[in-house]
Amino acid sequence: MYFKHYLYFIAVTLSILSQTSRANNIDDNQTFDTAIQFNAQPANCVALTQGRKCFARIKFYWKVEQADNICLVRKDNNYLIQCWKNINEVSTSIEFESDKKVVYQLIQQQTRQAIAETTVNVSWVHKSTPRKRRWRLF
């Protein structure tokens, strides 16, 4: 039983990853159905210094017109975050950790197509400088 689930998970993952990988290579400026709601909050993560990793708890919300089997994937490394079956609205959250912007996609399992994407940007307060210095409070 568990083995079947495991195989199913592997198969779905591999198919989605190959699809998203191909999609990335073919078309980075693809357009999506505007009726699909997909957003991340906060959409911007602020680090203290340029080049440093930024950490945040990101809340995703997505809603499609009809219930479907949909997966949430990180686009740059095709990391599968989570899949849902026969559902049209989801709210979920993840731990974000990156030094550059990350694009997330919703993938429809049946068609293996990206149906929506959203971006979490990374910005900073202090620009990176090669000059090293000490830092004192008083």
Binding site: T129, R131, R133, L137
Partner: protein, 292 residues
């Protein structure tokens, strides 16, 4: 005030050695290193910050206490500039009232392992006993009739050793060249950054040695200043040890939250003065800084 000609000579020698060292180092550089240094030193960078904070910064002196709300409020404007090795920067009180502590200097050498700067800064701020008396509700007998103590502006060589997320720096400073306070000091400080998620947490340990001229200037009592509550006092060199923790957190692309606490321990030569009330002092602050 005591100006020691020997110290001035020593300081000028230090300055001369620094310039010669710089020239020799430059001459010995390979073209590759030179190119890398030039690329780094061509950079013009600047940063301006304004900050507001709640500060707990008690005085070391007898009878001087924080009384008004304004005593606990710190406002600051910080302007850092770097151009071709020359810099103006503020290392102290970055998150609170920056009334002094700005450093003007030149970066003689800077590489991955160590750096050498020549700089000038006010190592100890001035204070006016008459102003302190005026600001307090209660009289301060130990301060009555004393003249203003000028700030100890020092010319220094700063050696910095860079470790993994840490800096050890040592200032060798003479205050006899560009201020009326003769003397010298060695200020060492080690700080270690320990990042935690978006927080920058700095742990710092400092040890400073002040020569007798400096200690005498600030907390010494000369024969003509003796009073019934103020015996003559002359000190030899003294130490200040410091331990600090401070933390920064980014609130947005322009705002940071800064907080910290520092514990100061003064050696006997300071605490034995009739003017001084505390052997150790705790300073703390929490505030917001706007970064342009």
């Amino acid at each position: 005030m005591k100006n020691n000609p020997w110290l001035k000579t020593l300081s000028l020698c230090c300055l001369l050695i620094a310039l010669i060292t710089s020239a020799v180092a430059s001459a010995n550089e390979s073209s590759e290193q030179q190119s890398a240094n030039e690329n780094q030193q061509d950079d013009f960078t600047w940063q301006m910050m304004i900050g507001a904070s709640v500060v707990y910064d008690p005085s070391i002196f007898k009878g001087v206490e924080d009384e008004d709300f304004s005593d606990y409020l710190g406002l600051s404007i910080v302007f850092d500039v770097y151009y071709k090795g020359f810099f103006i920067q503020a290392n102290k009180r970055r998150a609170s009232g920056l009334y002094s502590g700005a450093e003007l200097g030149y970066q003689i050498e800077s590489n991955e392992q160590w750096g050498l700067d020549i700089l000038t800064k006010a190592y100890i701020g001035s204070y006016s006993p008459s102003d302190l008396i005026e600001q307090q509700d209660k009289p301060i007998p130990t301060m009555e009739g004393l003249g203003t103590r000028q700030s100890a502006d020092g010319l220094a060589l700063r050696y910095s050793y860079y470790g993994e997320q840490s800096v050890l720096s040592i200032d060798f400073a003479s205050t006899g060249i560009n201020s009326s306070v003769g003397g010298w000091l060695i200020e060492s400080f080690y700080s270690k950054l320990i990042p935690y998620r978006n927080w920058d947490i700095y742990y710092g340990v400092g040890l400073t040695y002040y020569s007798s001229d400096i200690v005498d200037h600030y907390i010494g009592i000369d024969a003509d200043e003796v009073s019934p509550v103020r015996a003559e006092y002359h000190a030899s060199g003294a130490f200040l040890a410091q331990f600090e923790i401070n933390a920064l957190y980014p609130l947005s692309e322009n705002w940071t939250l800064n907080a910290g606490i520092i514990q100061n321990f003064y050696s006997n030569k300071i605490t034995d003065s009739p003017l001084v009330a505390h052997a150790n002092l705790t300073q703390a602050l929490i505030g917001f800084v706007y970064v342009f």
